[in-house]
Amino acid sequence: MIRRFIVVLAVALLALGHGPRALAQDAGTGLQALLQVEADLVANASRQTVQQVLDRLIASDLPEVPGFLTRWAAREVYQRQSDGLFVYVADPDADPLVLVDIVTGAEIGTATSREVAQLRPNRGVQTVIASALVAFQLGAEDPAERLAALAAIDNAPEESHLALLRDLLATESDPDVIELAEVLLPKLVIAFDTDDADRVAAIESLAGNVSLVARATLNPLLAVTSGVGVALPEVGNLARVLEPGSDIDEVAAYAMLVEAGLAPARISRAEQRDILAAHVVEGRVGGVPVAQLDTDAARDRAYAALVAEGLALPAPTEADVTAALDAHVFYEVYREASVAVTDAARDTLEGIDMRVGAYRVLDLSLDGLSLASIYFLAAIGLAITFGVMGVINMAHGEFIMIGAYTGYVVQTIVPDYTLSIAIAIPLAFAVTFAGGVAMERLVIRWLYHRPLETLLATFGISIALQQIVRQIFGTQARPLTPPDWLAGSVAINDVVSISSIRIAIFLLGVIFFVLLWLVLNRTRLGLEVRAVTQNPAMAASMGINPDRINMLTFGLGSGIAGIAGVAIGLFAQVVPDLGSNYIVQSFMTVVVGGVGNIFGTLIGAGMIGGLQKFIEWLNPTNTLAAQTYMILFVILFIQFRPRGIIALRGRAAGD
């Protein structure tokens, strides 16, 4: 009940605000009559004129008004062509249309769609209507409606909303509504309050608030207009004085002078040429033959002659320009008049910017971590085949690619995304494990003592695999869609957010690392692998079958690449050359980290990923440049630590 009262009060206040003229005119009876007074403005409402109609409707305090406004904004009001009557229709798709009275709700006849015109308020008008509706909605019983009203205020704030909002906060009990209203209040205070102290307080209440809303509220307060004159202006909230050459470049400064009519325009070379061309007389310009006008000096002479004849405007010399610049002051003035407000806004923004900066660093670190985990996933298989076995497998990227395509194929058969991913991961492992074992048996085992030739042979396999996949699946990207619970992102605030899929990849990387570490260091297989890679002959004499171990190790490395492929396919495009985009980075990751050690690969991935994001942060527009510099860094890094971060030393290093 109280709310209802407030609304009435608010509407009454609004009506008072708009003076007695409105009241006097609206003495007619009923909504229809009210509308008919300015029927044309209702039917063809524009953003500029609709307020006038709204003011009158609200002032009338008729109970049908909120309903009417809602339906008007929703384009549900029609006007009968014959008499201009405003009506609703029962069913907009019916033919003929059944017309409904806007006040009583009674059916008042039928009409064909030609006989009525639908009122189609445009977006601008809809916004104004919605904003007027706010007053009614804020008084609604349903908290959802009050929230909707607050959202409307947020969309198109108005001076009148400030009082409404304050009143609301005085009585509101719903926590959601209070929360949103408290976010909105400073925004409205800053924008519309007339008391600077209140505004400053509101500005200061935003201190440390890194949300986009807070920043969007404060930034306009510091908007400036630049100006020029012989002296600084007497009035206005001066932001700063611009020094030509340092704060503003001299060309731009002079252009301001010209714009303000304080100095003559410069004549550019191109303009000079056009003017000369327009004054060719008998093959000469200003006495100089046209054929000679191919140097700046000759053109200057001809132009000077034209000026002397009064045919062209004199161009300011460099000295003139400098003198003009020296004789004037360039400055920026805040659009906001109150010094206290701009000072408070500047201080508060500075504080916020520092916080935003800190959060950006956090965000960047998360980005770097996520990139690192991608590199780690791509490289971890290599850390085994290259790092532990010393086999250069150029087809490693293709195993990643095949893993991604396995995921795609599973998704075409199993429509449930969660289930299909759960199937795809072991299946991708199985497929690439088999591929790895086959490759080891058929090719690599013959080449263990010729590492460089392994490189070439596996490169051959790589292009063959790529082309075969291209034959089967085509060149266009295939979708590998993450399940819904992986599609979103986790946002800490408006600055820091990370997509769920990247968190999943990070976790996957951690799991891989732990599992592999355990396999290599805590199991019989791991022991045998290390034995075989360090001394195959000795291992063989101790009853270990090196063939079997090599086969299994290579299969393991390849299988992991397959799983990595499923993960990478979830965020990258699944195309036949997916793998080749990762192969060089993967090798660098392993080499930088230190060969023969998955811990090194972890650090290598962390370093490369972090560094790349850091360079991107220095030059955010250019990710290609970041990659370039990252590679250069790696090349230099290898100079100083040829064996990587975690290096084996001494005789074991085998040099």
């Binding site: 030393r649 001494g650 005789r651 074991a652």
Partner: protein, 246 residues
Amino acid sequence: MNSLLEVQGISVSFDGFRAINNLSFVIGCPEMRAVIGPNGAGKTTFMDIVTGKTRPDTGSVRWGETGRSLLALSEAEIAQVGVGRKFQRPTVFEDQSVWDNLRVSLKKPRGPIAALFDRVTEADRARIDEIAAEIGLSDHLDRPAGILSHGQKQWLEIGMLLAQDPRLLLVDEPAAGMTTEEREHTTALLKRLAQSHAVVVVEHDMEFVRRLECRVTVLHEGSVLAEGSLDHVMADERVIEVYLGR
């Protein structure tokens, strides 16, 4: 007799394992010295340090009359001042002919440009023939080194060492894989070399060492255990323990 090589208090460790521990060693010129010691005593690492392959953590390696430090020099520069090395396993350029192997080793300017414009002089030819005769490979000059027998490769490597004409020769197990006859020849050759060069021989075979008739340095766990004539060191309690005790 001036000292040619003075190694003072060197130590080196790999990942915590002390391969060389405060080792000092002096050899003059001309002099022959045999270095013996069980596996892992640091013989090869000692040679690696002298030839610049491994840098010691502490200590100094001084060379020649001027006492110039070898630690700042690269392997190539150390070889150029006159340190030659024969490896334990014969390392020759198997792909190239015996003649080419010797030619590459001849003492001549070592720079790339000099190598590009190198002409084989009569003196070079004579020297190669002389060395080939010395190492018994005169009939094999045109054959690829890769098809030589193990002993012949040993010889070729010694020949390459001769061609290099170093002042100090570090010879790692020269007699391994040789017949008795070849061993005798090797012994004779080394002894003759020791009349004008400093020669350090690392050997396991005591018979061979005995025939060299020279001072012996015994290494154990990276330091010098004993030094003197073979009979003297073999009588040393500690040496006996190291060789026979465990």
